[in-house]
Symmetry: C2
Subunit: 333 residues, 2 copies
Protein backbone atom coordinates (compact mmCIF):
# COMPACT_ATOMS: atom_id res chain seq x y z
CA UNK A 1 0.00 0.00 0.00
CA UNK A 2 0.83 3.72 -0.04
CA UNK A 3 1.59 5.99 -2.90
CA UNK A 4 4.67 5.52 -5.03
CA UNK A 5 5.28 9.24 -4.73
CA UNK A 6 3.21 12.06 -3.32
CA UNK A 7 2.00 13.10 -6.74
CA UNK A 8 1.14 9.58 -7.78
CA UNK A 9 -0.94 9.28 -4.65
CA UNK A 10 -3.27 12.00 -5.79
CA UNK A 11 -3.41 10.94 -9.40
CA UNK A 12 -3.66 7.20 -9.56
CA UNK A 13 -6.78 5.09 -9.15
CA UNK A 14 -5.25 2.62 -6.69
CA UNK A 15 -1.86 4.01 -5.69
CA UNK A 16 -1.34 1.24 -3.14
CA UNK A 17 -0.75 -1.27 -5.92
CA UNK A 18 2.78 0.03 -6.35
CA UNK A 19 5.44 0.73 -3.71
CA UNK A 20 7.80 3.54 -2.79
CA UNK A 21 11.37 2.36 -2.80
CA UNK A 22 12.60 5.19 -0.54
CA UNK A 23 10.68 3.79 2.44
CA UNK A 24 12.92 2.40 5.18
CA UNK A 25 11.73 0.52 8.24
CA UNK A 26 13.44 0.68 11.62
CA UNK A 27 12.82 -2.01 14.23
CA UNK A 28 12.98 -0.59 17.77
CA UNK A 29 11.67 -3.67 19.60
CA UNK A 30 14.59 -3.98 21.97
CA UNK A 31 15.11 -0.23 22.42
CA UNK A 32 11.51 0.80 23.18
CA UNK A 33 10.69 -2.52 24.84
CA UNK A 34 13.63 -1.96 27.16
CA UNK A 35 11.69 0.86 28.79
CA UNK A 36 9.40 -1.78 30.32
CA UNK A 37 12.05 -4.05 31.87
CA UNK A 38 15.06 -1.79 32.44
CA UNK A 39 16.57 -3.20 29.25
CA UNK A 40 17.02 -6.69 30.69
CA UNK A 41 16.43 -8.96 27.70
CA UNK A 42 17.93 -12.40 27.24
CA UNK A 43 20.51 -12.60 24.47
CA UNK A 44 18.33 -15.25 22.83
CA UNK A 45 15.52 -12.76 22.32
CA UNK A 46 17.82 -9.99 21.08
CA UNK A 47 19.40 -12.43 18.63
CA UNK A 48 15.98 -13.61 17.48
CA UNK A 49 14.89 -10.03 16.79
CA UNK A 50 18.15 -9.39 14.92
CA UNK A 51 17.77 -12.52 12.82
CA UNK A 52 14.11 -11.72 12.11
CA UNK A 53 14.98 -8.21 10.96
CA UNK A 54 17.57 -9.62 8.57
CA UNK A 55 15.14 -12.19 7.17
CA UNK A 56 12.23 -9.77 6.93
CA UNK A 57 14.24 -7.19 4.99
CA UNK A 58 13.97 -4.55 7.72
CA UNK A 59 16.43 -1.70 7.11
CA UNK A 60 17.54 -0.74 10.62
CA UNK A 61 17.45 -2.33 14.06
CA UNK A 62 17.76 -0.19 17.17
CA UNK A 63 19.10 -2.08 20.17
CA UNK A 64 18.91 0.42 22.97
CA UNK A 65 20.29 3.59 24.48
CA UNK A 66 23.68 5.17 25.00
CA UNK A 67 22.83 6.21 28.57
CA UNK A 68 25.28 7.99 30.83
CA UNK A 69 27.04 5.63 33.23
CA UNK A 70 27.47 8.62 35.56
CA UNK A 71 23.71 9.04 35.84
CA UNK A 72 22.62 5.40 35.63
CA UNK A 73 24.24 2.61 37.65
CA UNK A 74 25.43 -0.12 35.31
CA UNK A 75 24.38 -2.97 37.61
CA UNK A 76 20.79 -1.79 37.80
CA UNK A 77 20.08 -2.05 34.09
CA UNK A 78 20.51 -4.51 31.28
CA UNK A 79 23.17 -4.04 28.62
CA UNK A 80 20.74 -2.32 26.24
CA UNK A 81 20.65 0.77 28.43
CA UNK A 82 24.27 1.44 27.46
CA UNK A 83 24.90 -0.51 24.26
CA UNK A 84 28.63 -0.92 24.71
CA UNK A 85 30.41 -2.18 21.64
CA UNK A 86 31.11 -5.52 23.37
CA UNK A 87 27.44 -6.12 24.08
CA UNK A 88 26.45 -5.23 20.52
CA UNK A 89 29.06 -7.56 19.03
CA UNK A 90 27.98 -10.38 21.34
CA UNK A 91 24.71 -10.37 19.36
CA UNK A 92 25.69 -9.33 15.86
CA UNK A 93 29.42 -10.14 15.53
CA UNK A 94 30.68 -7.81 12.83
CA UNK A 95 27.12 -7.72 11.45
CA UNK A 96 27.79 -9.26 8.02
CA UNK A 97 24.26 -8.39 6.83
CA UNK A 98 22.48 -5.54 5.02
CA UNK A 99 20.68 -4.65 8.29
CA UNK A 100 22.01 -1.41 9.74
CA UNK A 101 22.25 -0.99 13.49
CA UNK A 102 21.16 1.97 15.56
CA UNK A 103 21.10 3.27 19.12
CA UNK A 104 19.24 6.15 20.70
CA UNK A 105 21.00 8.92 22.62
CA UNK A 106 18.78 11.04 24.88
CA UNK A 107 19.66 14.69 25.41
CA UNK A 108 20.44 15.26 29.08
CA UNK A 109 20.90 11.54 29.78
CA UNK A 110 23.93 10.71 27.66
CA UNK A 111 27.66 11.49 27.78
CA UNK A 112 27.73 11.75 24.03
CA UNK A 113 31.09 13.49 23.82
CA UNK A 114 32.78 10.41 25.32
CA UNK A 115 30.37 7.60 24.53
CA UNK A 116 29.64 8.20 20.84
CA UNK A 117 32.93 6.88 19.44
CA UNK A 118 34.10 7.14 15.81
CA UNK A 119 32.00 5.06 13.44
CA UNK A 120 34.98 3.10 12.14
CA UNK A 121 35.40 1.66 15.66
CA UNK A 122 31.73 0.72 15.92
CA UNK A 123 29.26 -1.74 14.49
CA UNK A 124 26.62 0.98 14.54
CA UNK A 125 25.50 2.94 11.47
CA UNK A 126 22.85 5.30 12.82
CA UNK A 127 22.58 7.37 16.00
CA UNK A 128 19.11 8.66 16.82
CA UNK A 129 19.27 11.78 18.98
CA UNK A 130 16.11 12.07 21.10
CA UNK A 131 15.13 15.30 22.81
CA UNK A 132 12.25 17.47 23.93
CA UNK A 133 11.56 20.82 22.32
CA UNK A 134 13.23 22.62 25.21
CA UNK A 135 16.51 20.77 24.52
CA UNK A 136 17.15 21.98 20.98
CA UNK A 137 20.55 23.57 21.68
CA UNK A 138 21.99 20.35 23.12
CA UNK A 139 20.29 18.33 20.38
CA UNK A 140 21.98 20.43 17.71
CA UNK A 141 25.39 19.84 19.31
CA UNK A 142 24.74 16.11 19.66
CA UNK A 143 23.67 15.83 16.04
CA UNK A 144 26.81 17.61 14.87
CA UNK A 145 29.03 15.42 17.04
CA UNK A 146 27.44 12.19 15.82
CA UNK A 147 27.72 13.34 12.22
CA UNK A 148 31.38 14.25 12.72
CA UNK A 149 32.01 10.83 14.18
CA UNK A 150 30.83 9.44 10.85
CA UNK A 151 27.31 8.21 11.60
CA UNK A 152 24.04 8.74 9.89
CA UNK A 153 21.96 10.81 12.32
CA UNK A 154 18.25 11.01 13.10
CA UNK A 155 16.64 13.82 15.12
CA UNK A 156 13.73 12.51 17.19
CA UNK A 157 11.59 15.31 18.60
CA UNK A 158 9.65 13.66 21.42
CA UNK A 159 6.22 14.41 22.88
CA UNK A 160 5.22 16.26 19.74
CA UNK A 161 1.55 16.32 20.80
CA UNK A 162 2.50 18.74 23.59
CA UNK A 163 4.51 21.16 21.43
CA UNK A 164 3.06 24.53 20.42
CA UNK A 165 3.16 25.44 16.72
CA UNK A 166 5.37 28.47 17.14
CA UNK A 167 8.01 26.54 19.07
CA UNK A 168 7.80 23.64 16.65
CA UNK A 169 8.53 25.86 13.68
CA UNK A 170 11.54 27.38 15.41
CA UNK A 171 12.80 23.90 16.35
CA UNK A 172 12.38 22.59 12.80
CA UNK A 173 14.24 25.59 11.43
CA UNK A 174 17.18 24.82 13.71
CA UNK A 175 17.14 21.10 12.97
CA UNK A 176 16.94 21.70 9.23
CA UNK A 177 20.36 23.37 9.43
CA UNK A 178 22.02 20.39 11.13
CA UNK A 179 23.53 17.39 9.34
CA UNK A 180 20.72 15.07 10.51
CA UNK A 181 19.34 12.86 7.70
CA UNK A 182 15.94 12.42 9.28
CA UNK A 183 13.56 14.33 11.54
CA UNK A 184 11.05 12.07 13.28
CA UNK A 185 7.51 12.88 14.42
CA UNK A 186 7.47 11.15 17.83
CA UNK A 187 4.01 10.73 19.34
CA UNK A 188 5.26 9.79 22.83
CA UNK A 189 1.82 10.13 24.40
CA UNK A 190 0.02 8.14 21.71
CA UNK A 191 -2.43 11.02 21.57
CA UNK A 192 -2.52 12.01 17.93
CA UNK A 193 -5.33 11.33 15.49
CA UNK A 194 -4.67 10.80 11.81
CA UNK A 195 -5.70 14.32 10.85
CA UNK A 196 -3.03 15.67 13.18
CA UNK A 197 -0.39 13.30 11.79
CA UNK A 198 -1.15 14.56 8.31
CA UNK A 199 -0.72 18.15 9.44
CA UNK A 200 2.56 17.44 11.27
CA UNK A 201 4.15 15.45 8.46
CA UNK A 202 3.27 18.21 6.01
CA UNK A 203 4.74 20.80 8.36
CA UNK A 204 7.95 18.79 8.89
CA UNK A 205 8.31 18.40 5.13
CA UNK A 206 8.38 22.16 4.67
CA UNK A 207 11.75 22.00 6.43
CA UNK A 208 13.07 18.63 5.26
CA UNK A 209 12.25 18.65 1.54
CA UNK A 210 14.42 21.65 0.79
CA UNK A 211 17.38 20.22 2.69
CA UNK A 212 17.26 16.67 1.36
CA UNK A 213 16.22 15.19 4.69
CA UNK A 214 13.55 12.60 5.33
CA UNK A 215 10.59 12.67 7.73
CA UNK A 216 10.12 9.74 10.10
CA UNK A 217 7.23 8.54 12.24
CA UNK A 218 7.29 6.89 15.68
CA UNK A 219 3.77 6.13 16.89
CA UNK A 220 2.40 4.73 20.13
CA UNK A 221 -0.68 2.58 20.21
CA UNK A 222 -2.77 4.09 23.03
CA UNK A 223 -5.71 4.77 20.72
CA UNK A 224 -5.13 1.71 18.50
CA UNK A 225 -3.88 4.18 15.91
CA UNK A 226 -0.13 3.42 15.80
CA UNK A 227 -0.42 1.47 12.53
CA UNK A 228 -3.04 3.82 11.07
CA UNK A 229 -0.95 6.88 11.90
CA UNK A 230 2.09 5.25 10.34
CA UNK A 231 0.09 4.69 7.15
CA UNK A 232 -1.12 8.29 7.27
CA UNK A 233 2.47 9.49 7.63
CA UNK A 234 3.50 7.36 4.64
CA UNK A 235 0.70 8.82 2.53
CA UNK A 236 1.95 12.31 3.27
CA UNK A 237 5.55 11.48 2.48
CA UNK A 238 7.24 10.07 5.59
CA UNK A 239 9.85 7.55 4.45
CA UNK A 240 11.33 6.42 7.77
CA UNK A 241 9.03 4.19 9.78
CA UNK A 242 9.42 2.79 13.28
CA UNK A 243 7.78 -0.47 14.28
CA UNK A 244 8.31 -3.29 16.77
CA UNK A 245 7.68 -7.01 16.85
CA UNK A 246 4.16 -7.67 18.23
CA UNK A 247 4.04 -3.93 19.00
CA UNK A 248 6.37 -4.32 22.00
CA UNK A 249 7.07 -0.97 23.61
CA UNK A 250 6.46 1.17 26.64
CA UNK A 251 2.86 1.46 27.79
CA UNK A 252 0.53 0.88 24.88
CA UNK A 253 3.41 -0.23 22.67
CA UNK A 254 4.29 0.78 19.13
CA UNK A 255 3.23 0.15 15.55
CA UNK A 256 3.28 -3.65 15.13
CA UNK A 257 5.93 -4.76 12.65
CA UNK A 258 3.70 -7.63 11.45
CA UNK A 259 1.06 -5.13 10.35
CA UNK A 260 3.51 -2.69 8.79
CA UNK A 261 5.45 -5.29 6.82
CA UNK A 262 2.18 -6.96 5.79
CA UNK A 263 1.09 -3.61 4.38
CA UNK A 264 4.22 -2.49 2.53
CA UNK A 265 4.39 -3.81 -1.01
CA UNK A 266 8.13 -3.60 -1.67
CA UNK A 267 9.14 -7.19 -2.44
CA UNK A 268 12.26 -6.80 -0.32
CA UNK A 269 10.05 -7.11 2.77
CA UNK A 270 8.86 -10.50 4.07
CA UNK A 271 6.21 -10.95 6.73
CA UNK A 272 6.56 -14.69 7.38
CA UNK A 273 9.70 -14.44 9.59
CA UNK A 274 7.82 -11.96 11.74
CA UNK A 275 4.97 -14.39 12.35
CA UNK A 276 7.64 -16.88 13.35
CA UNK A 277 9.15 -14.66 16.05
CA UNK A 278 5.69 -13.81 17.35
CA UNK A 279 4.99 -17.52 17.70
CA UNK A 280 8.40 -18.54 19.05
CA UNK A 281 9.27 -15.59 21.32
CA UNK A 282 6.82 -12.72 21.59
CA UNK A 283 3.81 -14.67 22.90
CA UNK A 284 5.91 -15.98 25.80
CA UNK A 285 7.38 -12.53 26.44
CA UNK A 286 3.86 -11.10 26.64
CA UNK A 287 3.24 -13.48 29.56
CA UNK A 288 6.19 -11.90 31.41
CA UNK A 289 5.83 -8.26 30.39
CA UNK A 290 2.71 -6.20 29.84
CA UNK A 291 2.21 -3.81 26.95
CA UNK A 292 -0.55 -2.90 24.52
CA UNK A 293 -3.56 -0.57 24.22
CA UNK A 294 -5.02 -1.39 27.64
CA UNK A 295 -7.71 0.88 29.00
CA UNK A 296 -5.54 3.17 31.19
CA UNK A 297 -3.27 3.81 28.21
CA UNK A 298 -6.32 4.65 26.08
CA UNK A 299 -7.43 7.15 28.69
CA UNK A 300 -3.94 8.65 28.81
CA UNK A 301 -3.91 8.93 25.02
CA UNK A 302 -7.34 10.55 24.93
CA UNK A 303 -6.15 13.14 27.46
CA UNK A 304 -2.72 13.62 25.81
CA UNK A 305 -0.87 12.63 28.97
CA UNK A 306 2.52 11.01 29.47
CA UNK A 307 2.08 7.24 29.95
CA UNK A 308 3.72 7.23 33.39
CA UNK A 309 0.43 7.54 35.31
CA UNK A 310 -1.12 4.68 33.34
CA UNK A 311 2.01 2.56 33.83
CA UNK A 312 1.81 3.17 37.59
CA UNK A 313 -1.88 2.24 37.52
CA UNK A 314 -1.14 -1.04 35.72
CA UNK A 315 1.48 -1.92 38.35
CA UNK A 316 -0.90 -1.25 41.24
CA UNK A 317 -3.69 -3.37 42.75
CA UNK A 318 -6.13 -0.89 41.12
CA UNK A 319 -4.97 -1.76 37.62
CA UNK A 320 -8.50 -2.57 36.40
CA UNK A 321 -10.30 0.25 38.21
CA UNK A 322 -10.78 2.19 35.00
CA UNK A 323 -13.37 4.66 36.28
CA UNK A 324 -11.20 5.73 39.22
CA UNK A 325 -8.24 6.15 36.86
CA UNK A 326 -10.39 8.15 34.44
CA UNK A 327 -11.71 10.40 37.21
CA UNK A 328 -8.20 11.01 38.55
CA UNK A 329 -6.78 11.67 35.09
CA UNK A 330 -9.50 14.17 34.20
CA UNK A 331 -9.05 15.98 37.51
CA UNK A 332 -5.31 16.32 37.05
CA UNK A 333 -5.73 17.71 33.57
CA UNK B 1 -12.61 15.28 16.09
CA UNK B 2 -13.68 15.21 12.45
CA UNK B 3 -14.89 17.93 10.24
CA UNK B 4 -18.10 19.78 10.96
CA UNK B 5 -18.98 19.41 7.31
CA UNK B 6 -16.98 18.11 4.39
CA UNK B 7 -16.21 21.61 3.20
CA UNK B 8 -15.16 22.79 6.64
CA UNK B 9 -12.79 19.87 6.81
CA UNK B 10 -10.81 21.17 3.88
CA UNK B 11 -10.93 24.79 4.89
CA UNK B 12 -10.37 25.02 8.61
CA UNK B 13 -7.09 24.90 10.45
CA UNK B 14 -8.21 22.38 13.07
CA UNK B 15 -11.61 21.06 11.98
CA UNK B 16 -11.67 18.53 14.80
CA UNK B 17 -12.29 21.29 17.34
CA UNK B 18 -15.95 21.37 16.36
CA UNK B 19 -18.42 18.51 15.91
CA UNK B 20 -20.92 17.33 13.32
CA UNK B 21 -24.37 17.04 14.80
CA UNK B 22 -25.62 14.64 12.11
CA UNK B 23 -23.34 11.85 13.38
CA UNK B 24 -25.21 8.96 14.99
CA UNK B 25 -23.59 6.04 16.78
CA UNK B 26 -24.99 2.52 16.80
CA UNK B 27 -23.92 0.03 19.45
CA UNK B 28 -23.89 -3.53 18.10
CA UNK B 29 -22.15 -5.17 21.06
CA UNK B 30 -24.82 -7.80 21.65
CA UNK B 31 -25.60 -8.36 17.97
CA UNK B 32 -22.06 -8.81 16.63
CA UNK B 33 -20.81 -10.33 19.88
CA UNK B 34 -23.56 -12.94 19.61
CA UNK B 35 -21.74 -14.41 16.64
CA UNK B 36 -19.11 -15.69 19.10
CA UNK B 37 -21.39 -17.43 21.60
CA UNK B 38 -24.52 -18.33 19.62
CA UNK B 39 -26.18 -15.25 21.12
CA UNK B 40 -26.20 -16.66 24.64
CA UNK B 41 -25.70 -13.59 26.82
CA UNK B 42 -26.94 -13.20 30.38
CA UNK B 43 -29.71 -10.67 30.77
CA UNK B 44 -27.48 -8.80 33.22
CA UNK B 45 -24.96 -8.07 30.48
CA UNK B 46 -27.58 -7.10 27.92
CA UNK B 47 -29.17 -4.75 30.44
CA UNK B 48 -25.78 -3.28 31.32
CA UNK B 49 -25.06 -2.55 27.65
CA UNK B 50 -28.52 -1.01 27.27
CA UNK B 51 -28.05 1.19 30.35
CA UNK B 52 -24.56 2.20 29.23
CA UNK B 53 -25.81 3.20 25.78
CA UNK B 54 -28.48 5.37 27.39
CA UNK B 55 -25.99 7.04 29.73
CA UNK B 56 -23.31 7.48 27.06
CA UNK B 57 -25.71 9.19 24.64
CA UNK B 58 -25.42 6.45 22.02
CA UNK B 59 -28.16 6.79 19.38
CA UNK B 60 -29.02 3.16 18.56
CA UNK B 61 -28.50 -0.22 20.17
CA UNK B 62 -28.70 -3.38 18.09
CA UNK B 63 -29.62 -6.46 20.13
CA UNK B 64 -29.37 -9.28 17.65
CA UNK B 65 -30.88 -10.95 14.61
CA UNK B 66 -34.32 -11.81 13.34
CA UNK B 67 -33.25 -15.30 12.27
CA UNK B 68 -35.62 -17.81 10.72
CA UNK B 69 -36.94 -20.32 13.24
CA UNK B 70 -37.41 -22.71 10.34
CA UNK B 71 -33.69 -22.68 9.59
CA UNK B 72 -32.32 -22.31 13.13
CA UNK B 73 -33.51 -24.42 16.07
CA UNK B 74 -34.68 -22.13 18.86
CA UNK B 75 -33.20 -24.27 21.65
CA UNK B 76 -29.71 -24.18 20.17
CA UNK B 77 -29.32 -20.41 20.33
CA UNK B 78 -29.80 -17.61 22.80
CA UNK B 79 -32.72 -15.21 22.52
CA UNK B 80 -30.68 -12.65 20.56
CA UNK B 81 -30.65 -14.87 17.50
CA UNK B 82 -34.38 -14.25 17.13
CA UNK B 83 -35.12 -11.07 19.10
CA UNK B 84 -38.74 -11.86 19.83
CA UNK B 85 -40.68 -8.94 21.21
CA UNK B 86 -40.95 -10.65 24.62
CA UNK B 87 -37.19 -11.02 24.91
CA UNK B 88 -36.59 -7.42 23.90
CA UNK B 89 -39.11 -6.11 26.43
CA UNK B 90 -37.62 -8.26 29.17
CA UNK B 91 -34.56 -6.00 28.86
CA UNK B 92 -35.93 -2.62 27.88
CA UNK B 93 -39.58 -2.62 28.98
CA UNK B 94 -41.26 -0.07 26.74
CA UNK B 95 -37.85 1.62 26.34
CA UNK B 96 -38.71 5.00 27.88
CA UNK B 97 -35.39 6.49 26.72
CA UNK B 98 -34.03 8.39 23.70
CA UNK B 99 -32.03 5.28 22.70
CA UNK B 100 -33.49 3.66 19.59
CA UNK B 101 -33.42 -0.11 19.23
CA UNK B 102 -32.40 -2.12 16.22
CA UNK B 103 -32.13 -5.69 14.95
CA UNK B 104 -30.40 -7.15 11.94
CA UNK B 105 -32.21 -9.26 9.35
CA UNK B 106 -29.99 -11.35 7.08
CA UNK B 107 -31.10 -12.04 3.51
CA UNK B 108 -31.59 -15.76 3.05
CA UNK B 109 -31.68 -16.44 6.80
CA UNK B 110 -34.82 -14.58 7.87
CA UNK B 111 -38.57 -15.06 7.41
CA UNK B 112 -38.98 -11.35 7.10
CA UNK B 113 -42.48 -11.46 5.66
CA UNK B 114 -43.76 -13.03 8.88
CA UNK B 115 -41.23 -11.99 11.47
CA UNK B 116 -40.88 -8.26 10.79
CA UNK B 117 -44.15 -7.15 12.36
CA UNK B 118 -45.67 -3.65 12.17
CA UNK B 119 -43.62 -1.06 14.04
CA UNK B 120 -46.52 0.00 16.24
CA UNK B 121 -46.50 -3.50 17.73
CA UNK B 122 -42.76 -3.42 18.37
CA UNK B 123 -40.24 -1.72 20.60
CA UNK B 124 -37.84 -1.58 17.65
CA UNK B 125 -37.18 1.54 15.57
CA UNK B 126 -34.62 0.38 13.01
CA UNK B 127 -34.23 -2.79 10.95
CA UNK B 128 -30.83 -3.32 9.39
CA UNK B 129 -31.06 -5.54 6.31
CA UNK B 130 -27.76 -7.37 5.78
CA UNK B 131 -26.90 -9.04 2.49
CA UNK B 132 -24.13 -9.95 0.08
CA UNK B 133 -23.89 -8.34 -3.32
CA UNK B 134 -25.43 -11.41 -4.96
CA UNK B 135 -28.58 -10.98 -2.83
CA UNK B 136 -29.65 -7.53 -4.02
CA UNK B 137 -33.09 -8.57 -5.33
CA UNK B 138 -34.10 -10.07 -1.97
CA UNK B 139 -32.50 -7.14 -0.12
CA UNK B 140 -34.59 -4.69 -2.10
CA UNK B 141 -37.78 -6.57 -1.20
CA UNK B 142 -36.80 -6.79 2.47
CA UNK B 143 -36.04 -3.08 2.62
CA UNK B 144 -39.41 -2.24 1.11
CA UNK B 145 -41.22 -4.56 3.50
CA UNK B 146 -39.49 -3.14 6.58
CA UNK B 147 -40.19 0.39 5.42
CA UNK B 148 -43.85 -0.45 4.82
CA UNK B 149 -44.07 -1.92 8.31
CA UNK B 150 -43.08 1.54 9.56
CA UNK B 151 -39.42 1.14 10.48
CA UNK B 152 -36.37 3.13 9.66
CA UNK B 153 -34.25 0.86 7.45
CA UNK B 154 -30.53 0.42 6.93
CA UNK B 155 -28.97 -1.50 4.01
CA UNK B 156 -25.79 -3.28 5.09
CA UNK B 157 -23.78 -4.53 2.13
CA UNK B 158 -21.48 -7.14 3.62
CA UNK B 159 -17.99 -8.29 2.62
CA UNK B 160 -17.45 -5.11 0.64
CA UNK B 161 -13.73 -5.84 0.28
CA UNK B 162 -14.63 -8.75 -2.02
CA UNK B 163 -17.02 -6.81 -4.29
CA UNK B 164 -15.95 -5.74 -7.76
CA UNK B 165 -16.47 -2.09 -8.70
CA UNK B 166 -18.89 -2.77 -11.53
CA UNK B 167 -21.15 -4.89 -9.36
CA UNK B 168 -20.92 -2.41 -6.51
CA UNK B 169 -22.09 0.45 -8.69
CA UNK B 170 -25.04 -1.59 -9.93
CA UNK B 171 -25.91 -2.56 -6.35
CA UNK B 172 -25.71 1.03 -5.12
CA UNK B 173 -27.92 2.18 -7.96
CA UNK B 174 -30.57 -0.36 -6.94
CA UNK B 175 -30.29 0.46 -3.23
CA UNK B 176 -30.49 4.20 -3.88
CA UNK B 177 -33.98 3.65 -5.25
CA UNK B 178 -35.23 1.87 -2.13
CA UNK B 179 -36.63 3.57 0.97
CA UNK B 180 -33.55 2.72 3.06
CA UNK B 181 -32.25 5.67 5.09
CA UNK B 182 -28.69 4.41 5.28
CA UNK B 183 -26.28 2.33 3.20
CA UNK B 184 -23.46 0.87 5.25
CA UNK B 185 -19.91 0.03 4.16
CA UNK B 186 -19.42 -3.32 5.90
CA UNK B 187 -15.81 -4.52 6.05
CA UNK B 188 -16.68 -8.07 7.12
CA UNK B 189 -13.15 -9.34 6.51
CA UNK B 190 -11.44 -6.46 8.30
CA UNK B 191 -9.27 -6.16 5.23
CA UNK B 192 -9.59 -2.54 4.20
CA UNK B 193 -6.96 0.13 4.60
CA UNK B 194 -7.90 3.76 5.14
CA UNK B 195 -7.26 4.74 1.54
CA UNK B 196 -9.82 2.16 0.47
CA UNK B 197 -12.36 3.35 3.04
CA UNK B 198 -12.01 6.87 1.67
CA UNK B 199 -12.65 5.64 -1.84
CA UNK B 200 -15.67 3.54 -0.84
CA UNK B 201 -17.34 6.23 1.25
CA UNK B 202 -16.91 8.70 -1.61
CA UNK B 203 -18.39 6.18 -4.04
CA UNK B 204 -21.35 5.41 -1.76
CA UNK B 205 -22.01 9.12 -1.39
CA UNK B 206 -22.44 9.49 -5.12
CA UNK B 207 -25.61 7.45 -4.67
CA UNK B 208 -26.74 8.56 -1.20
CA UNK B 209 -26.27 12.33 -1.32
CA UNK B 210 -28.74 12.82 -4.15
CA UNK B 211 -31.38 10.69 -2.44
CA UNK B 212 -31.08 12.10 1.09
CA UNK B 213 -29.61 8.90 2.49
CA UNK B 214 -26.68 8.56 4.87
CA UNK B 215 -23.56 6.43 4.57
CA UNK B 216 -22.62 4.17 7.47
CA UNK B 217 -19.46 2.31 8.44
CA UNK B 218 -19.07 -1.07 10.12
CA UNK B 219 -15.41 -1.96 10.59
CA UNK B 220 -13.64 -5.05 11.90
CA UNK B 221 -10.38 -4.81 13.79
CA UNK B 222 -8.19 -7.46 12.13
CA UNK B 223 -5.55 -4.91 11.16
CA UNK B 224 -6.06 -2.70 14.23
CA UNK B 225 -7.75 -0.28 11.86
CA UNK B 226 -11.40 -0.47 12.94
CA UNK B 227 -11.24 2.84 14.82
CA UNK B 228 -8.96 4.49 12.25
CA UNK B 229 -11.22 3.41 9.39
CA UNK B 230 -14.25 4.73 11.25
CA UNK B 231 -12.50 8.10 11.61
CA UNK B 232 -11.60 8.01 7.91
CA UNK B 233 -15.23 7.31 7.03
CA UNK B 234 -16.34 10.24 9.22
CA UNK B 235 -13.87 12.56 7.49
CA UNK B 236 -15.34 11.65 4.13
CA UNK B 237 -18.91 12.13 5.27
CA UNK B 238 -20.19 8.91 6.86
CA UNK B 239 -22.67 9.85 9.58
CA UNK B 240 -23.73 6.43 10.86
CA UNK B 241 -21.08 4.68 12.90
CA UNK B 242 -21.04 1.18 14.36
CA UNK B 243 -19.05 0.41 17.49
CA UNK B 244 -19.11 -2.07 20.38
CA UNK B 245 -18.15 -2.03 24.04
CA UNK B 246 -14.49 -3.08 24.38
CA UNK B 247 -14.62 -3.89 20.66
CA UNK B 248 -16.63 -7.10 21.29
CA UNK B 249 -17.46 -8.82 18.02
CA UNK B 250 -16.78 -11.82 15.86
CA UNK B 251 -13.14 -12.65 15.29
CA UNK B 252 -11.03 -9.53 15.63
CA UNK B 253 -13.99 -7.57 16.95
CA UNK B 254 -15.27 -4.14 15.99
CA UNK B 255 -14.47 -0.46 16.48
CA UNK B 256 -14.23 0.01 20.27
CA UNK B 257 -16.99 2.29 21.59
CA UNK B 258 -14.63 3.71 24.23
CA UNK B 259 -12.32 5.00 21.50
CA UNK B 260 -15.11 6.29 19.27
CA UNK B 261 -16.99 8.14 22.02
CA UNK B 262 -13.70 9.48 23.39
CA UNK B 263 -13.02 10.91 19.93
CA UNK B 264 -16.39 12.46 19.07
CA UNK B 265 -16.76 15.99 20.36
CA UNK B 266 -20.55 16.31 20.47
CA UNK B 267 -21.31 17.05 24.14
CA UNK B 268 -24.26 14.67 24.03
CA UNK B 269 -21.76 11.78 24.19
CA UNK B 270 -20.18 10.65 27.47
CA UNK B 271 -17.26 8.24 27.71
CA UNK B 272 -17.22 7.64 31.48
CA UNK B 273 -20.17 5.15 31.53
CA UNK B 274 -18.32 3.13 28.90
CA UNK B 275 -15.23 2.82 31.09
CA UNK B 276 -17.59 1.63 33.82
CA UNK B 277 -19.03 -1.23 31.76
CA UNK B 278 -15.55 -2.23 30.62
CA UNK B 279 -14.50 -2.45 34.26
CA UNK B 280 -17.68 -4.08 35.59
CA UNK B 281 -18.59 -6.46 32.75
CA UNK B 282 -16.38 -6.56 29.69
CA UNK B 283 -13.11 -7.58 31.38
CA UNK B 284 -14.83 -10.61 32.90
CA UNK B 285 -16.53 -11.45 29.60
CA UNK B 286 -13.14 -11.37 27.86
CA UNK B 287 -12.06 -14.18 30.21
CA UNK B 288 -14.97 -16.30 28.92
CA UNK B 289 -15.02 -15.32 25.25
CA UNK B 290 -12.14 -14.55 22.92
CA UNK B 291 -12.11 -11.66 20.46
CA UNK B 292 -9.66 -9.00 19.29
CA UNK B 293 -6.92 -8.49 16.71
CA UNK B 294 -5.10 -11.76 17.43
CA UNK B 295 -2.50 -12.91 14.94
CA UNK B 296 -4.65 -15.33 12.88
CA UNK B 297 -7.23 -12.57 12.41
CA UNK B 298 -4.45 -10.21 11.28
CA UNK B 299 -3.34 -12.76 8.72
CA UNK B 300 -6.93 -13.20 7.52
CA UNK B 301 -7.32 -9.43 7.22
CA UNK B 302 -4.07 -9.07 5.30
CA UNK B 303 -5.24 -11.75 2.87
CA UNK B 304 -8.82 -10.41 2.66
CA UNK B 305 -10.29 -13.69 3.84
CA UNK B 306 -13.48 -14.47 5.75
CA UNK B 307 -12.66 -14.84 9.48
CA UNK B 308 -13.98 -18.40 9.66
CA UNK B 309 -10.58 -20.04 9.10
CA UNK B 310 -8.97 -17.89 11.78
CA UNK B 311 -11.85 -18.63 14.18
CA UNK B 312 -11.38 -22.35 13.59
CA UNK B 313 -7.64 -21.94 14.20
CA UNK B 314 -8.24 -20.17 17.52
CA UNK B 315 -10.54 -22.99 18.63
CA UNK B 316 -7.97 -25.67 17.79
CA UNK B 317 -4.89 -26.90 19.66
CA UNK B 318 -2.84 -25.10 16.97
CA UNK B 319 -4.23 -21.71 17.89
CA UNK B 320 -0.77 -20.17 18.38
CA UNK B 321 0.94 -21.87 15.43
CA UNK B 322 0.96 -18.66 13.42
CA UNK B 323 3.42 -19.74 10.74
CA UNK B 324 1.44 -22.88 9.91
CA UNK B 325 -1.74 -20.80 9.73
CA UNK B 326 0.01 -18.25 7.52
CA UNK B 327 1.35 -20.94 5.19
CA UNK B 328 -2.05 -22.58 4.91
CA UNK B 329 -3.82 -19.27 4.32
CA UNK B 330 -1.43 -18.20 1.59
CA UNK B 331 -1.74 -21.57 -0.12
CA UNK B 332 -5.52 -21.46 -0.15
CA UNK B 333 -5.56 -17.98 -1.61
Amino acid sequence: MAAKTKTHHEKEKAPWITCRSQIKVLDCTIRDGGLINDHKFDDALVKAVYQTCVEAGVDYMELGYKASKKQFAVGEYGDWKFCDEDALRRIVGDNPTPLKLSVMADAGKCDWREDIIPKDESVLSLIRCAFYVNQIPEAVEMIKHCHEMGYEVSANLMAISRVQDEELEEALEELAQTPTSVIVVVDSNGALYTEQIKRLVKKFRKYTDATGKEVGIHAHNNLQLAFANTIEAIIHGANRLDATMYGLGRGAGNCPMELLIGFLRNPKFHVRPIYKILQDHMLALREELEWGPLVPYMIGGQLNQHPRAAMACRESPDKDRFVAFYDKSVTEE
